[in-house]
Amino acid sequence: MSAHTPSISGDARTADARDLPNGPGAAAVLAAGIGSFLLAVFAILADKAASIKSLMNFSKPTGPLSGVTTCAIVAWLAAWALLHARWRNRNLAFARVSAIAFVLLFLSLLLTFPPIADLF
């Protein structure tokens, strides 16, 4: 038997992969990256601009953190719903989507770190 002959499990994998496109997964991954990044952006904006800080004061005891996190969560869920609706039946170049998501996630880690956030 040739080494290139697909095995039964190989065939099954191809069929499974075809049955479930990677679009919904890509939408979830990219939306999580977007949500994380926006959280960091909103936090910086609320810290730097007094007007935004007072706008973000959704809950007085918690302060601007309540607005920053609520806005980020709403943006994350909205991005997820939108991307899911567009990609749910599609197979995408996942490596590209994943790379963008990880860049956004890495930036959010950096931008939430106060010595870096204070540079803005």
Binding site: L39, P61, S66, I73, S98, L109
Partner: protein
């Protein structure tokens, strides 16, 4: 043996939800890596699939409970402003930390980072759980997606670890205290 209501909530938040979440992260990483690796020969059974779904659903609940109790129950006590003429800052942890140069960075770096970065944990684990719920055993056929999920779970572990470390250090330097006292046990009199 007594504890204040605020201490009890801090314990529930940190040692209950937070620490349990941190421990659960390592289990999720092992399970995702071992069972869902595309070159693993062992098939993912219905039981494995169900186990990981329930496991991640519990992690999602823990992560959200940890951040929500932190932001809406404990943080308001932490950032409370003392009234004019207050002689002690013991009940105002943020002000207590900021009053001394030797402790102010616990707030300006520790709390400022923790209060934001920790939200990456519930976002990441909710995404991971949603992907596992949707793809189940088929995740094995999407190695790039599985790797992305693994990466996000790693970041969630890191974010929860940062929050856990600074939470413990903040509470060591300026504990959140106050509220009604709860008597747990009556000690023996000597």
């Amino acid at each position: 043996m007594e504890i204040t209501a605020r201490s009890l909530w801090t314990m529930i938040h940190g040692m209950g939800f937070g620490a349990l979440y941190l421990m659960a992260c390592s289990g999720a990483l092992v399970e995702l890596y071992r069972r869902y690796c595309s070159h693993s020969d062992a098939p993912v059974t219905t039981r494995d699939e169900r186990f990981l779904r329930i496991y991640l659903a519990v992690m999602v609940v823990l992560a959200w409970l940890a951040v929500l109790t932190g932001a809406y129950i404990i943080y308001p006590w932490y950032r409370a402003v003392p009234p004019l003429g207050a002689t002690s800052l013991a009940a105002f942890p943020q002000r207590l930390l900021m009053a001394s140069p030797s402790t102010s960075a616990w707030h300006s770096i520790g709390m400022e980072w923790k209060e934001h970065v920790v939200w990456l944990a519930p976002i990441s684990i909710t995404m991971a759980a949603a992907v596992v719920f949707q793809y189940g055993r088929h995740l094995k056929n999407h190695p790039q997606l599985r790797n992305a999920v693994l990466g996000f779970v790693w970041i969630s572990l890191f974010a929860a670890g940062v929050a856990g470390f600074f939470g413990a250090m903040l509470n060591k330097n300026a504990p959140v205290e106050g509220g009604p006292t709860i008597r747990i046990l009556q000690g023996e009199q000597k």
